[in-house]
Amino acid sequence: MIWFQILAILGLVALVTFFMIHRGTARSSAGVKLLFVAFVVFGVYAMLRQDDVTWVANKIGIQRGLDLVLFLLVIAFAFTTVSTYLRFRELEIKYARLARAVALQNAEKQSRE
């Protein structure tokens, strides 16, 4: 099972790195949407056909299907947290620049009066 763990962690790091480097491009934005759809489809399938998930899990050295789902959930959650944080930071920067422009315009107006 150890090879799966290593692979999963490396995959997660690669995924986060890829999306951080290509952040804001149409390609990465489309990638996120596709990943989301794939994740939801997988989730629904896992609920309906639990034995199939266990079969896949066994193939890659994990005992229970539920464990596989949980691992994937952890990866998805970590990824979502990082990308949400970055998105918020970007918005904060835009918001600060907008507020600054308003403040500087008002100061200019006051000094003319």
Binding site: M20, A96, R100, A103, L104
Partner: protein
């Protein structure tokens, strides 16, 4: 305006202000005796800081919402660098921690030495005794953890007192809104290859400034922002 003050016509003091109504008028008017050009950036204060700034007779720029100290400094610098004749800029705290004499010495060095930015340090010439122990340890740790700070020979990267020339002011683009701007400032010095030097300064730790000072747990936020800000700058 006194005759002494006219020689500092090309200097602008930038003071970020957030809920400092109690002290800001005294701090600003004291500094104005030496440096006639002061801009206070009221960062969306909920008390009467604005009124006190106006009474002090200095320029006021008002953020419509609270954005944090880094954002206020950036706003103040953008305002000051657009003023005719502005050559030197100083970031100065509103809580009365900084001494005007130190600013005078820093501006003198900018005028005479080949440097772009002078950063204050609490840890020179045995002045560190005045710094409270826990704070001293925390600030030492920040320097220890930052290879960049050590490489540039800075001993007190989180000192709010900085004086710099127009080159720095024109290129300055702080994006970390909160307290992380100090680390960001160091990163920018490195990135733009500004010639930097330190100036020993004395920080006046009053009860008021101690109460207002950033909490040490905020160091966690500073470290997290620092890890991510290189990516944000893309």
């Amino acid at each position: 305006m006194t005759s002494g003050a006219t020689s500092n016509d090309d200097v602008w003091l930038v003071i970020p202000v957030f809920n400092e109504a109690e002290v800001i008028r005294r701090v600003a008017s004291d500094a104005a005796k030496t440096f006639p050009n002061i801009v206070c950036v009221d960062d969306g204060s909920r008390d009467d800081s604005t009124g006190e700034i106006i009474k002090a007779g200095v320029r006021l720029v008002r953020h419509p919402v609270n954005l944090g100290q880094g954002a206020a400094i950036q706003t103040g610098v953008e305002y000051a660098r657009a003023q005719p004749g502005a050559k030197y800029f100083v970031t100065f705290d509103a809580d009365g921690q900084h001494r005007v004499e130190d600013v005078v010495a820093m501006i003198d060095r900018l005028r005479t030495e080949p440097v772009d930015i002078v950063v204050g340090t609490r840890f020179a010439e045995g002045r560190s005794e005045s710094v409270p122990f826990v704070r001293r340890m925390a600030l030492r740790t920040i320097v220890f953890l930052s290879p960049r700070t050590r490489r540039m020979g800075l001993t007190d990267a989180h000192n709010g007192l900085r004086a710099f020339n127009k080159t720095v002011a024109d290129q300055l683009d702080l994006m970390m809104s909160g307290m992380s701007h100090a680390s960001e400032f160091v990163a920018l010095i490195d990135h733009h290859h500004w010639r930097v030097t330190e100036q020993p300064v004395t920080i006046l730790y009053t009860d008021y400034s101690r109460a207002k000072g950033q909490s040490l747990i905020n160091g966690v936020n500073i470290v997290a922002d620092g890890l991510l800000h290189t990516r944000m700058r893309k």
